[in-house]
């Protein structure tokens, strides 16, 4: 192609570029729950354009679930979820020095600083070997984690950056030393990460690296894929999906064509977030709502729900009696079952 026709992918733009098209609002779970334009990425961008302060914009900053659905639909290419993470960080930093902080945040800050001072974990996994960053939810379910490992044939990386992922979510400053230590330990590895938000950031922090979400990693396995059937509703983990939208939309489109299962996508091919929880829910200050999971099931009659994320499993178990299985539970490879007998019960 002649050079003059080739255009480099454009860099993300900021809120000043918002044209008010409202496309982001259509996909935003805050909007679905409230029908209040202030609780939308558009409201936030327009608020900033009108000179609103971070404090005045606290409601959407706190309520956002960082699902990332708004990012790929924005025609002005504004990094909306990145903007919200940034505003969370700024709002935390703008608090008066001695103002009371939720215990989770205090404890997380301490953990990050401790990790920043600690020596990097001794390399259990050789450089260049693929590694699994399971995150706290998967670690809390050892049987499922063992299945995942067995299916992927991957070692669990000791430092899976769970503190960093939580800091991103809560808007807590990550000490540079901690971040660099973590990133250095990952350099050269192929990474499979269960946490979509962390994966999204790794894409920025380690641009040349090979990364993959847990969903695509598992669903490329024949043992898993061959067990997906047309009567399944396959629920995509939205953060990883939206964080790498152009690639992922193609990947899942092929998955859908090959298996016939239906996907948790809306008509814009955006992943509907099932378990949508803002800061208050993350801090344990409020219960999550099930509006999204119910909407996903409206008018659909799947025989089974297949989830990539354990948070989604919990959301569906609250709203329906259908069997809800994790993707890893689909893989019933006989050889693997032999090797990891304990995990298959």
């Amino acid at each position: 192609m002649p050079a003059f026709l080739a255009r480099a992918p454009a860099a993300p733009r900021d809120y000043a570029a918002c044209s008010g098209c409202s496309l982001c609002l259509l996909v935003c779970p805050m909007w679905r729950g409230s029908h209040d334009p202030r609780l939308t990425p558009e409201g936030l961008a327009k608020g900033l354009q009108s000179g609103a302060t971070v404090r005045e914009l606290a409601a959407p900053i706190v309520a956002c679930s960082l699902c990332g659905a708004c990012d790929p639909v924005c025609p002005e290419r504004i990094d909306l979820s990145g903007l919200i993470m940034d505003l969370r960080l700024r709002s935390a930093n703008s608090l008066p020095p001695n103002s009371p902080q939720p215990a989770v945040i205090v404890e997380l800050s301490a953990r990050l600083h401790q990790a920043a001072g600690a020596a990097p974990a001794a390399g259990v996994v050789s450089r260049s070997a693929p590694v699994l960053l399971p995150g706290p939810e998967l670690r809390a379910d050892p049987a499922l984690l063992a299945r995942v490992q067995a299916l992927l044939g991957l070692a669990v990386f000791d430092d899976d950056g769970a503190d960093i992922a939580l800091a991103l979510e809560l808007g807590v400053e990550i000490p540079q030393q901690r971040l660099h230590g973590f990133l250095d330990s990952l350099r050269g590895h192929t990474i499979v990460a269960a946490d979509g938000l962390l994966l999204r950031q790794l894409r920025r922090w380690l641009p040349g690296s090979q990364r993959m979400g847990l969903g695509p990693a598992l669903s490329t396995r024949a043992a898993v894929r061959s067990n997906l059937v047309p009567s399944d509703l396959y629920v995509i983990e939205p953060r990883a999906f939206h964080g790498d939208y152009e690639r992922m939309v193609g990947y899942y489109d092929r998955l859908q064509r090959e298996t016939g299962c239906s996907l948790s996508l809306d008509l814009q091919r955006i992943a509907i977030p099932a378990a949508s929880s803002g800061l208050a829910q993350k801090l344990g200050l409020a219960a999550g709502d099930d509006v999204q999971a119910k909407w996903m099931l409206q008018g659909r009659k799947p025989a089974r729900i297949v989830v990539e994320s354990l948070a989604d499993r919990a959301a569906f178990e609250r709203v329906c009696d259908l069997p809800v299985v994790h993707l890893a539970e689909l893989g019933e490879d006989p050889q693997m079952m032999q090797k990891f007998r304990h995990a298959f019960g």
Binding site: S19, L26, D36, G47, S50, A52, P75, G250, L267, Q298
Partner: protein, 518 residues
């Protein structure tokens, strides 16, 4: 030019004189900001009535402009619509305190019609629930603030679809029924406003009334295509249809006239389910034709395709190569066409929307392309709506204006099938009075492409297009706000005065969308 302040309920002097010369620069007719008299008493009255009103930057900043991005105004406060009862209380208080209320759906107007220059901004998108889908009767009852796209999402769960709606995802049902609503199937199914079977309306004095062609027909006739002058649409019953993907075919022309003749030939013969013209300037003219079923497409191939004078993609590329080889001084234009083709074409062929050669969710495909490739913080889209026989002249003259004002632009042309029994709905609307059978609309959309133009430049361009409408006796899809100086020129004093008298009876304090038309 001196603009005179206009008292509510009186007719202001037309800022565009009837004998003005064609093509001269004109001032914008941005309405003056309401001065806020009695606002606090009004706020107290709303509070007593239990109507929540939000004030301040965060609440009002979202509404500073509309999709056009050239008219800026701030409301004093915002009410998010929640029910007809709440809106009724709002309007009753607004009448007695003479506070203007500007209604906003998707805010996709481009002439500032949905921008509040003081007073209350009523955001209808708070009323976005689908109330009932009747799959047997093929109807849906929905709150009117809902975006067409959200309605489509819900209908699709029942394997249904709306009939026709603007190709932009974020226009609302209520906003569209009051304006028109044109889709690439409107040449067959009519405009969105023609789909409405009945409406729930809150009148400017706060009555909640159900209306249709048989129940309160006068109100129905005025509210449909009425630019929000005679009531706020709070719920609508619409016709729907089974969902189908569509087979899309493209034909390319280098002549606007030939393409329009072919479009009108197809429409007149009901040869396709969808039809429209989308251009890159007047160089690459794309006639798109689409079908809901293989049977309809087979009939097209048998009877009509050979009559079309357009080329296929490859044939047109060859034709263009020959054209520009003989005109090397136009190489920049050729490069632009090439670049535009490379950027835009893949949008219409994204694999996730294609199955077995058919396009799914066309409105998403079109709308995303529209916002991505045509959208920007300023959108200037004047248009002309004419009878079928005046259409070619209107487009050719409008095209010459585009060439004069902008380096790059797009034209979008579609037919609108008219329903003779709806003639009373069409009075003083976007449907031109002399149209029979079909009306035709053309949007003239300059590509802003990050360029910086003065508001005067935009306004001069729009005036030049609108002047063509006056000259031809046409109408406009978007009339209101900044171009309201044209209303009298195009419809004449007698008709406008009759509607103004109706408006003053219905809205004694002239509070509802008062700056749009009168």
């Amino acid at each position: 030019m001196k603009l005179f302040p206009v008292e509510p309920g009186t007719v202001g002097p037309c800022p565009v004189a009837p004998d003005a010369l064609q093509g001269i620069k004109r001032q914008q007719t941005n309405p003056a900001r309401w001065n806020g008299a009695g606002w606090q008493d009004f706020v107290a009255a709303l509070g007593n009535a239990g109507v929540e009103l939000a004030e301040g930057t965060v609440a009002c900043g979202v509404y500073a402009t509309d999709a056009g991005g050239t008219a800026y105004g701030m409301p004093h406060g915002v009410v998010i619509a929640r029910s007809a009862g709440q809106i009724s209380l709002l309007l009753k208080a607004a009448q007695s305190h003479r506070v203007p209320v500007t209604v906003r759906g998707g805010g996709l107007t481009t002439e500032g019609e949905s921008v509040a220059f003081g007073g209350v901004l009523l955001d209808m998108t708070g009323m976005s629930r689908v109330l009932q889908i009747d799959a047997a009767a093929l109807t849906v009852r929905t709150e009117a603030g809902i975006y067409w796209h959200s309605l489509a999402e819900e209908l699709r769960r029942e394997n249904l679809d709306y009939l026709s709606a603007p190709l932009n995802l974020t226009s609302s049902v209520g906003g569209t029924l009051g304006v028109g609503g044109i889709d690439v199937n409107s040449a067959r199914l009519g405009c969105s406003a023609d789909q409405a079977l009945s409406l729930q309306v809150v009148t400017p004095t706060g009555e909640i009334v159900e209306c249709s062609d048989s129940e309160n027909p006068e109100l129905f006739q005025r509210v449909i295509l009425g630019y929000g002058q005679f009531g706020i649409i709070t719920a609508a019953t619409l016709r729907v249809r089974p969902y189908t993907p569509l087979a899309m075919r493209y034909f390319y022309y280098s002549s606007l006239r030939t393409a329009i003749e072919d479009l009108q030939m197809l429409d007149a013969n009901d040869a396709s389910d969808y039809s429209g013209i989308l251009t890159i300037m007047d160089c690459a003219v794309n006639l798109l034709v689409a079908f809901d079923s293989d049977e309809r497409e087979a009939v097209f191939h048998a009877n009509w395709k050979s009559r079309l004078r357009g080329y296929g993609e490859f044939g047109f590329a060859l034709c263009m190569a020959g054209h520009y080889a003989l005109r090397p001084w136009k190489f920049r234009e050729a490069l632009y066409l090439l670049q535009r083709k490379r950027e835009v074409f893949p949008e219409f062929r994204r694999p996730e929307y294609m199955r077995d050669g058919k396009m799914h969710d066309r409105s998403v495909v079109f709308s995303r392309a529209v916002w991505k490739h045509w959208g920007s913080r300023q959108m200037v889209i004047p248009d002309l709506a004419t009878s079928a026989d005046k259409f070619i002249e209107a487009v050719e003259r409008g095209n010459a204006v585009c060439r004069k004002y902008f380096a790059h632009y797009t034209l979008y042309c579609v037919g609108i099938k008219l329903r003779p029994e709806h003639q009373p709905h069409y009075e003083m609307s976007c449907i031109p009075p002399d149209a029979e059978g079909w009306a035709y609309g053309c949007e003239f959309e300059p590509m802003i492409e990050g360029g910086v133009y003065s508001r005067d430049h935009f306004q001069a361009f729009k005036n030049a297009i609108y002047d063509i409408g006056v000259d031809l006796g046409a109408s406009y899809y978007r009339f209101g706000g900044m171009m309201k100086g044209y209303i009298r020129r195009v419809f004449g004093d007698a008709l406008v005065d009759r509607h103004l008298a109706m408006k003053r009876r219905a809205d004694p304090a002239m509070i509802l969308n008062r700056d749009v038309i009168f």
